[in-house]
């Protein structure tokens, strides 16, 4: 690959398209609802690739264990390309890495779409060339809250309002949406499109969504009200559902027109320019947190996955898919925070997600349309150490630093339910939020972050390229 850190002389710039032609490009989309661990996944994966050399004498160990090209000694180097597409927001990898490695704390959530381009060089046994193959991996990150907006593309304002208000009427959400209803009742007789009133209503709706999101609920539309990014305070985000009888009023017509605008100018560009151009997709699911949150948030998670699956366009990479513009061929459903369950339960965790997918993908669309798909439990950064007690009764336990504790403790989180849907009266699992700690991370800046199945995930996603 031409070194693009230093600008090439003008006559040699003609070589760039040729260089691009011989380099394999791959776009890896990291999807998942809010707090699923997307940022941590990208940070840990990038750091693992950059520090792979530290494990070259210990193949099969370290964060890239089970990544075929690494274990076979074919991975030569990885480097971040800061020089490509400088106009696009870059994923703040260094800040995130340092926050975890030096501050031992989880970084802040993502606020907008960002990219990170990594050049990977592999050793290949071939007759021509210098025996090296290049892969340019573009990782795309975006806020999880935006994902839930995708189903809005297939609904009109009336349908969307009906669905949103039905969800808002659920007992668990009733309290949070009360100010919105009260404000809406006041506007009933005025039948006006007063902007002040719209701002007030949209503020109440946003506050309701914030409460719901804080309680772990997923179905919070429009997602941009929670993560507005560059649209903060813009009129397009003054958006909320209205009951059917109010939709024909001037207020309803104004909001309806904003809804159309929101779908066409906000969601569709995100869908077309970011979401649907991914070659590989990782869908991160934090199922443990939802087991802890209880039945209703868990059910919403299931509904949420069902809805977004309908928005995914997968293909097998054939000519017809190419003509239709379908690029995503590999989908990995990754269960995050596998380090929060004992080792023997990790396979059970995978089984739990498999069962959940069988529920949400009733028509088996995923299996039928993708070239490859898989489910695995992973921990992008392992915050615990697996242990077992010596004296009977012998059992596997976790050793780590839970949030709010000053010292590392040995902890048994309880068993993972195997049934789907789980029997909520029988669940004994107790999620303890473990924090990254320097005692369990050995030189993360040199050796990468300890991880579980990160290399295996990477192997599934890019090994054949």
């Amino acid at each position: 690959m031409l070194n693009q850190i230093y600008p090439l002389p003008m006559p040699l710039q003609i070589l760039r398209p040729i260089d691009n032609l011989i380099t394999n490009h791959l776009t890896l989309g990291i999807s998942g609802f809010a707090r699923a661990g997307k940022t941590i996944f990208i940070t840990s994966l990038t750091q693992a690739l950059l520090t792979a050399d530290a494990w070259s004498k210990q193949r099969g160990q370290g964060p890239l264990a089970h990544f075929g090209p690494f274990e076979r000694g074919e991975l030569i180097s990885a480097r971040i390309r800061d020089d490509l597409h400088p106009q696009r927001p870059q994923f703040p990898f260094r800040a995130m890495r340092d926050a975890i490695a030096t501050g031992s704390r989880w970084p802040e959530a993502t606020t907008g779409v960002s990219h990170l381009i990594i050049d990977l060089e592999f050793r290949r046994d071939c007759w021509i060339g210098n025996g090296r193959k290049k892969l340019q991996l573009e990782i795309i990150d975006y806020p999880g809250e935006w994902l839930i907006d995708l189903p809005m593309l297939s609904m009109n304002y009336s349908e969307w309002s009906k669905e949103c208000l039905n969800i808002a009427k659920l007992p668990e959400r009733k309290l949070w949406v009360k100010p919105f209803w009260e404000s809406l009742n006041n506007v009933e007789n005025s039948h006006t499109d007063n902007e002040e009133k719209i701002i007030e209503l949209s503020r109440f709706w946003r506050e309701y969504l914030q409460h719901a999101a804080a309680a772990g609920y997923i179905l919070n539309q429009p997602g941009r009200l929670l993560r507005p990014d560059h649209l903060r305070d813009s009129p397009i985000l003054r958006l909320f559902p209205l009951p059917e009888e109010m939709q024909s009023t001037p207020l309803g017509q104004t909001i309806n027109s904003r809804y159309q605008h929101y779908c066409q100018k906000v969601i569709r560009p995100f869908y077309e320019q970011t979401f649907s151009r991914m070659n590989r997709q990782v869908v991160l699911v934090d199922i443990l947190r939802y087991l802890q949150l209880g039945e209703k948030p868990f059910n919403e998670l299931q509904t949420g996955i069902t809805q977004i699956l309908a928005s995914f366009r997968y293909g097998k990479g054939g000519a017809l898919d190419w003509l239709k513009g379908i690029k995503t061929t590999h989908v990995l459903f990754a269960l995050t925070k596998a380090d929060h369950v004992v080792r023997g339960d990790r396979l059970n965790l995978e089984q739990l997600l498999r069962r959940m997918l069988a529920f949400v993908d009733e028509k088996n669309t995923l299996r039928a349309t993708t070239l490859k798909h898989d489910v695995m439990a992973l921990a992008s950064i392992a915050t615990t150490e697996d242990r077992k007690t010596i004296s009977p009764p012998v059992r596997e336990i976790l050793y780590g630093l839970p949030a709010g504790y000053n010292e590392l403790v040995q902890y048994d989180p309880g068993g993972i339910p195997l049934d789907m849907p789980p029997d909520w009266n029988e669940i004994q699992f107790q999620y303890l939020d473990f924090q990254p700690t320097k005692q369990l991370m050995q030189e993360p800046l040199y050796r990468g972050f300890p991880a579980i199945n990160l290399g295996r995930a990477l192997n599934f996603l890019i090994a054949e390229d």
Partner: protein, 335 residues
């Protein structure tokens, strides 16, 4: 499927960083959960697995799982012993009679005959051993595929660990890396994938290098050697050597009788090498006016064909000796 009765919480027991290889969910269901302040130990390593076997009363792993011995085997051995005794007796008698009781003449002949016989027996013993080894390889391959397909953990480990130990001679670094990296509690296909990545891939590359080298040497040798019979012998020697060396890389030995399919290929190679020399000679003699072109082309074609056939033989031997075929993942996808 009620399997989550372990209660969560802080465990005040002494614990170590070794994990319990038993992943059975139900096995832990009645244990009180919580904070643990007991000592604890690290993850299932090969040493731990072996230790566990000792504890279970198994002394060590067999070098390979042996095939079932049938009654005809012992009958056959008895017949061989019987024939040997008869031959020795009769031979002694014949030598004694031929030399008319002259001990100074009959004794060296007798000693020579015995040495010859011992060597012959040794060759047959080696062949016998190699044939058994081939049976073991076949069985090993079958067991590995079956264990991967059925997710049979103990069967997989029983077959993989002896194999790993055997491969350590040529690939010590890789085998040690694998032993340190592997988590034997992982599903068999994952363990084998890691074994393939770290160890087998290295051996495959070594074998490929060897095949390339031997193909070139074989080709050039046949081109230089002037006589068809010598060409044939040379190709035979290099072919057998290639087979033996590749099989050593994969931790066993292949002999002519133990792998008739490969041996057939070696003999065919030798015949073709000899035939090519003769063919080139006929072509040269037939072109009396212009000898330069065929006399250059002859050795080149001899070298090319012999090299290609040796390469093919090498690839065949590699596939034959590999514990699992290159496309084993197709098997994996079946479950």
């Amino acid at each position: 499927m009620n399997s989550f009765t372990r209660r969560p919480g802080i465990v005040n027991e002494h614990a170590s960083s070794e994990s319990n290889p038993n992943t059975n969910h139900q096995s832990r269901e009645k244990l009180p959960p919580g904070k643990i302040e007991l000592s604890a130990i690290p993850i299932a390593s090969i040493d731990e697995v072996e230790k566990k076997r000792y504890e279970n009363g198994n002394d060590k792993f067999e070098s390979f799982p042996l095939p079932k011995t049938y009654s005809w085997t012992s009958t056959f051995i008895l017949w061989i012993v019987f024939l040997l005794v008869i031959t020795t007796g009769m031979g002694t008698k014949i030598i004694y009679d031929t030399t008319a009781g002259n001990y100074w003449l009959s004794l060296p002949i007798l000693i020579l005959s015995i040495v010859l016989m011992i060597y012959t027996i040794n060759v047959f013993a080696q062949e016998w051993k190699a044939i058994n080894q081939v049976k073991k390889i076949t069985l090993l391959r079958k067991n590995l595929i079956e264990s991967i397909r059925n997710n049979n953990h103990s069967m997989f480990i029983d077959n993989l660990i002896p194999l790993v130990d055997r491969l350590g001679y040529y690939s010590e670094e890789q085998v040690n890396s694998f032993k340190k990296a592997v988590n034997y509690d992982d599903p068999p296909y994952m363990v084998f994938q890691q074994f393939e990545n770290i160890v087998l891939n290295h051996i495959d590359n070594l074998a490929l290098e060897l095949i390339k080298k031997e193909s070139i040497i074989g080709g050039v040798g046949v081109a230089i050697i002037p006589h068809p019979a010598l060409d044939g012998l040379f190709a035979l020697w290099r072919g057998m050597r290639l087979m033996r060396k590749i099989s050593h890389l994969y931790g066993h030995t292949i002999t002519p009788l133990s792998s008739p399919m490969l041996m057939r290929s070696v003999i065919l190679n030798a015949t073709i090498a000899a035939g090519m020399e003769e063919l080139a000679r006929i072509v040269v003699e037939g072109n009396q006016g212009n000898n330069l072109f065929p006399s250059v082309l002859g050795p080149i074609s001899e070298a090319g064909i012999t090299g290609m056939r040796l390469h093919r033989l090498g690839i065949m031997t590699r596939s034959y000796c590999r514990p699992l075929p290159f496309n084993w993942k197709i098997t994996e996808k079946r479950f």
